[in-house]
Symmetry: C2
Subunit: 538 residues, 2 copies
Amino acid sequence: MDSKELWTRYCEQLRVYPELGISLDISRMRHEDDFIESMTPAMNDAFKAMAELEAGAIANPDENRMVGHYWLRNPELAPNPELAEEIQASISKISGFAKAIHKGEIKTEKGEVFKNVLLVGIGGSALGPQLVADALWHPSNPMELFYIDNTDPDGIAKTLTQIGSDLDKTLTIVVSKSGGTVETRNGNLEAAKAYQKLGLSFEKHAVAVTCPDSKLDKLAADSGWLERMHMWDWVGGRVSIFSAVGLLPAALQGVDIQEFIAGAKEMDDLTRVDSIDQNPAARLALMWYASGDGKGKKDMVVLPYKDRICLFSKYLQQLVMESLGKEHDLDGNVVHQGIAVYGNKGSTDQHAYVQQLRDGLNNFFVTFVEVLQDYTEDSDNVSNLHVETGVTSGDYLNGFFQGTRRALFESNRDSITITIDELTPKSLGALIALYDRTVGLYASLVNINAYHQPGVEAGKKAAAQVIELQKAILTELESRSDDAGLTADELSAAIGQEEEAESVYKILEHFAANPGRGILRTGDRHPSSSRYKLAATE
Amino acid sequence: MDSKELWTRYCEQLRVYPELGISLDISRMRHEDDFIESMTPAMNDAFKAMAELEAGAIANPDENRMVGHYWLRNPELAPNPELAEEIQASISKISGFAKAIHKGEIKTEKGEVFKNVLLVGIGGSALGPQLVADALWHPSNPMELFYIDNTDPDGIAKTLTQIGSDLDKTLTIVVSKSGGTVETRNGNLEAAKAYQKLGLSFEKHAVAVTCPDSKLDKLAADSGWLERMHMWDWVGGRVSIFSAVGLLPAALQGVDIQEFIAGAKEMDDLTRVDSIDQNPAARLALMWYASGDGKGKKDMVVLPYKDRICLFSKYLQQLVMESLGKEHDLDGNVVHQGIAVYGNKGSTDQHAYVQQLRDGLNNFFVTFVEVLQDYTEDSDNVSNLHVETGVTSGDYLNGFFQGTRRALFESNRDSITITIDELTPKSLGALIALYDRTVGLYASLVNINAYHQPGVEAGKKAAAQVIELQKAILTELESRSDDAGLTADELSAAIGQEEEAESVYKILEHFAANPGRGILRTGDRHPSSSRYKLAATE
């Protein structure tokens, strides 16, 4: 294809949505000429399935649940007026709470105005809020956000150190949809201990975001936390950003959440159109299908050319892989579906892995995200510097994006480009909504349930077994005084868990590396010969 | 394989290196029984090639360069005493400079002690320093690090805002091996302007890290920067962490760089051993080969269970993909080699994409990085909290790691586990060195040059063309007073670049979105009909 033909193809295939300031270019995705036509019946079925989902069908059959995240952006869509009212009430409550915090109507235990937010959550309960916070950060934000998003005590300690003595002015939000996520429970307990250490009452600084009557909800109610915000079982964690999970921290940071919701609503309206020609989500979903043959044969590399939305790559990784990475299709056939997603930001990544993208394995397609406005907000720190006559840093960013897109295409690597005029609450909301719908449509094309995550249970169960095993090991060691200690083999036999010798060894090694745990290791560290005993028995 | 057989396999295949506190477990990588034997001749050749490389061979033939990053960890290996002396002198200079900064012997322009470091660099000049800073952060660090690692004016403004008025106590290090990286040049200019705006002389706060006599080196010499630190053309950017690129910011942060270097040297000694049975890098390289059939058929998912080394995933992404992602082998055959790498951190990622890893596409192998010691440093913020009787947050982190490893293996997904006793300068140095060698050995197995990056040139050239085109557009628009403005087609014709209409359109759209640039857009935003003119002509 020469540059004239490419330009014609670009003009034909570009879709501009001026009211949202977003456009979608699929001109650099190669596919058979009749591909779109051949997929039209399947896409029409996907449109139909999506209409049913939005109307309240049990679109997540394995969990017997409705899939309602679209209602959060347009409560009128909710299948009954009570739900619509609940959604509206939730948004009002969030706005009112944030306003009261900002105005100091709700004060810290010491009677001061809150200045920080510490969000405790993991996965869908953390990544969305982090994305919004980064993307819409502004020097004038009334509150600064911190996160505990793992059960790593070292990481938790670092966050608490960074907050330091300002913990007394920190509002902690504990987010767990189910209310039983153990990593979040641990983060909650660690944070509570830190408040206590400073002589503060945790409950006077704490808010829960969870489903009604969950473990967390009851804890917050019983302990008299500042506030409880509710969500619903028909909102999946990875699409919960327009529920209190995303809206509460955003509102506290000072983001205009009405605009954020409005952007998503407008995009939902655009992606509800039953037309492959007009619907950007349908166009995107078809390109994913074309690239990977409907089997995820190619990885999706996400390259936003904007530092602020660097996390968008990770957000899509979670959304796409958790939604589409499934063993069975809706008819129960084993399909092992999915699309692997990774990325970071341009042009930084040109100095990392773009070498492989251009020259190496052709096992991917790229999604570029281009933001036309160089400065997200006017601010004193906007330099508008010309690094050469008439040329700014932003021109180079744009030049590198264009250059990489071209170089990849020339070496037969495909790409999609999403262009955003300005990064605002509205356009960010629209961008997220675009991908919500794309994932839903693609899931229909490949006939899978995009709204459950059965595969994560096995790892959780296995982890719980490790914790039980650890308890048994400690009990056994405490009951003995073998001077020489026991090997992993001996110890696993002693607790009647011969088949768990490896796990026993790994638990003992973890104990031995942490002197506070009171377990001594002797021997050469080989798993079959190292010995372990209580330090007290020495 | 039942659990008894697995335990036997684990005991046989685990390699523990107690002096470094690192072990490598490949028992969960499936391969044919005779695989190791069949690869032995090829690995012996790889050992030989590595010995020649370390002895100073032109191991990067395309650029006619030696490959000397191993000498940085053990100057005695350098092919001549002059080089050895240069390396030693460089390390002494870095240590001395950092000490003088910490003691206030080198003061800010205002006569105060420096408290921040602003590192301006991209790719290999930024990611390594960022990894070290995160991994070895401690509350008592004498200096805090900030980064400009892109040419995004918005991102740069955010960093400068965060530093704020403390810029007068900020030492800026500009890092560019070649001295001509345009993103870094832009970051340098933007930073310099920020100092100027506060009435400060940039040069009194600036240090250059670059090859001798580069553009940057000359600029720093001519402008009288505080200091210049040199590196060498035989150190690739992605392996430059043991040169001034990584050592200077680390030393300024307060990291014991002698220990960091010593850890790498010890690992180099271990990975120089010509024995597949004993050499951990050889074992790793063979597992990469087995998993992807020597063709990168499987992605490498990196899951460190430790927040502090979350960036290790990104570091390996750069190291592996830029080194191995090559079009040609050393004999000139088209091979399109590479291994795609992505990851973030556990257990957080269990709530993101582990669903797909367990149930979806089986197109990857996992590398777990386990750190046994829960708290990297003793500190007041160590809670040692028991979240259940006898169970800590760290026990859960370990439990989730073990659980995920097991759940993946049960569903036929392979994994490697690297276990580190404690995260220290020494173990981090060793971990990095392990992967340097693994990449080198794997490159030999697949017969490619791991030390150049020819594929990034095309994107850079195309970007430069965009900047030139932009200049021509501005000149043309300034010379005209078309009231109606010009379309992208008309403008590209006017400057004699008809074939660049698309790029012209994209440049004009970028201008129009930034009011300060003085370009007005009229029309419906469609690429073939939108019109653009100078704002002044209205």
